[in-house]
């Protein structure tokens, strides 16, 4: 089919485009775009735009109850909540905590295992991809059990070494790191795979040449591999910054409900809390707008940085 079509000698002459097709040609990209665009507009942008509007009202979504215009009151209420600021700073902790797990460690593993024999390397990669395919709800339930201070395997192991059981999910100082760890557990295989792919795409002749020149392993990594992996590193960093806190949502929801003492709450959980469990559409819409604009600004800055510092190797 394709192979055959491509292998045929291509005619060299240019085909004149009939002019009556011009209209269609203008329309063509829009037609191709339509299914995706319409879906995204209906299911994402329309509710989002509606949220902008509703964020200035007090309403509980019921047709029977009045919508009351309250101006900036919902925003003021949210900014006045100590919980909001706690959630905001926790979001930062999530992002910073996830960066090593989603970027640094996978990068290290990818480079480190590159020289392992192909067969064992593939086995390892297959295994560390495993957490990715386990449903978050299932993963959360299993981990809660494993981490239980009374009858969890992890604490059994810890007490084998003579330490007191760690209250992974109950200690306000530890809980957020537990959630970060679980989120990272789910991501590490995926990131490693992406880095491995990028790493494998580096032209080996470059490495060989450097080796000929007497470069050490570390020098090769620093001067050749890392610069060539830069766009992948930037991409995963960007994803982690923008979506890291979102990825941890399931675990927060199932395991801690934002507690203890709000230690594990983040901006997405707050949004859920306002919107779903309290059903106050004004609050949740205002929170959504704050969140969208906030992350949008971060994304904008990061993209600018990325444009400046990345280069594409193909």
């Amino acid at each position: 089919m394709t192979d055959a079509a491509l292998s045929q000698p291509l005619p060299a002459r240019a085909v004149a485009v009939p002019s009556r097709r011009t209209n269609l040609r203008h329309l063509a990209p829009w037609l191709y775009l339509a299914p995706a665009a319409i879906t995204l507009i209906i299911w994402i942008y329309w509710p989002l735009i509606d949220a902008f509007r509703l964020s200035f009202y007090e309403w509980n979504m019921l047709p029977t109850s009045p919508m009351r215009f309250v101006g900036w009151q919902n925003y003021a209420n949210i900014f006045a909540l100590p919980k909001f600021w706690q959630a905001l700073s926790n979001t930062l902790v999530y992002v910073i905590g996830l960066l090593p797990l989603a970027v640094l460690i996978p990068l290290g593993i990818a480079i480190y295992t590159h020289d392992l024999p192909a067969r064992s390397r593939n086995v390892y990669r297959a295994i560390i991809f495993m957490p990715m395919i386990i449903a978050p709800v299932v993963a959360a339930a299993i981990w809660r059990w494993l981490l239980d201070p009374g009858h969890g395997m992890v604490n059994e192991a810890i007490s084998l070494f003579g330490y007191r059981p760690v209250r992974f999910l109950q200690d306000p100082k530890v809980a957020i790191w537990t959630i970060i760890g679980l989120t990272g557990w789910k991501l590490i295989g995926f990131s490693t795979l992406i880095f491995s792919a990028a790493n494998a795409n580096i032209n080996p002749s470059l490495i060989e040449a450097a080796r000929m020149d007497g470069a050490s392993r570390w020098q090769i990594i620093r001067d050749i591999r890392l610069p060539l992996l830069r766009s992948t590193i930037l991409f995963l960093t960007l994803m982690t910054i923008l979506l890291g806190a979102q990825w941890s949502f399931s675990y927060v929801h199932v395991l801690t409900g934002g507690g203890p003492l709000g230690a594990t709450t983040n901006i997405f959980y707050i949004l859920w809390d306002f919107g779903f469990s309290t059903m106050s559409v004004g609050w949740s819409s205002a929170a959504a707008v704050i969140l969208f604009l906030g992350f949008g600004a971060v994304a904008f800055i990061l993209f600018r940085l990325m444009d400046r510092y990345s280069f594409h190797d193909n």
Partner: protein, 293 residues
């Protein structure tokens, strides 16, 4: 093959397998690499192992902390199968995941093609807007979308689970990236040949994007299979719901039924686990080949 031929300069290198490993340092490094990877593998595998093993523990030994159960029983499975219609739920989940995957790939290919093939007004802005949907948390759109689904009379139907996923940013962006690195000469050549844009997409581009499409399909299937919050909001009866909701039914504020929960979780993970084990090599390969950027 076409793909390899086209991508030859960047991708033809197969890591030399038996490079001289005479130096002791390298051997030591390899050993350390194995140690690191084995530890990591255990961390990744253990919870899965624990889920499966615990699903066979009898009720009175459920909190046993032995690695291997002292006694095995199928009671948990019997209980789980009786408590929820897991067969129907698995079928629903499979249907939803398969349809979402296919449709999203389809709409993604079309949209990506539009970006790769033409320059048109606002193309950059639209591309950015599609990328930005990633930043819209589902918590925001959930309730409005619920009302829409209800208005359409689709509550309690699988269509409600599928419709909002007819397109996704990930598919569009990933495919657009892949198409961008597709040599324009080939497209030009096909066009010269008189091929219409529709045929170029399906007969020239799509087959060459097999790697990307495969890895994307896997990602989409897994993430739809594991989706929880949207189905939770929509679920009215277990018979019309997906398996993640069934699992959640074993966790209640009146206590968690650990044994049946683990049994149901195992059953829910099994299909996808099997697909993964069978296709594992291809999955990894397609990821390695396409490389998500």
């Amino acid at each position: 093959m076409t793909t390899d031929a086209l991508y030859a300069p960047a991708r033809s290198h197969v890591a030399p397998r038996n490079r001289a490993r005479g130096k002791a340092g390298i051997r030591w490094n390899t050993a350390a690499g194995h140690v690191v990877m084995v530890v990591l593998s255990i961390i990744c595998l253990f919870p899965v192992y624990w889920m499966i093993v615990s699903s066979f523990r009898p009720a009175n030994a459920i909190f046993e902390t032995t690695l291997w159960p002292s006694a095995a029983s199928l009671d948990n499975y019997v209980h789980a199968l009786k408590a929820i219609p897991i067969g129907t739920m698995l079928l629903n989940t499979f249907l939803v995941s398969a349809i979402v995957t296919v449709v999203q790939l389809f709409t993604g290919l079309l949209a990506a093609y539009a970006f790769a093939r033409w320059r048109f007004p606002f193309d950059k802005a639209i591309y950015t807007l599609i990328a930005l949907t990633w930043l819209v948390p589902f918590q925001v759109v959930m309730i409005p979308n619920y009302r829409l689904v209800a208005d359409l009379g689709l509550l309690d139907s699988l269509a409600a689970l599928i419709l909002p996923h007819f397109a996704g940013a990930l598919a569009v962006l990933m495919l657009a990236q892949a198409m961008r690195s597709f040599p324009t000469e080939v497209i030009e050549a096909a066009r010269m040949d008189g091929a219409k844009s529709w045929r170029i997409l399906w007969e020239v581009m799509a087959p060459n994007l097999r790697g990307t499409i495969a890895s994307l399909a896997i990602l989409l299937f897994i993430s739809t299979w594991n989706e929880y919050f949207w189905p939770l909001l929509l679920s009215r009866t277990p018979e019309s719901s997906v398996v993640q909701i069934g699992i959640q039914m074993f966790i209640t504020s009146e206590g968690t039924a650990w044994g049946p929960l683990m049994a149901a979780s195992t059953l829910a993970s099994l299909p996808i686990l099997l697909i993964y084990v069978v296709l594992q090599r291809q999955v990894i390969q397609s990821f390695m080949k396409s490389g998500i950027r």
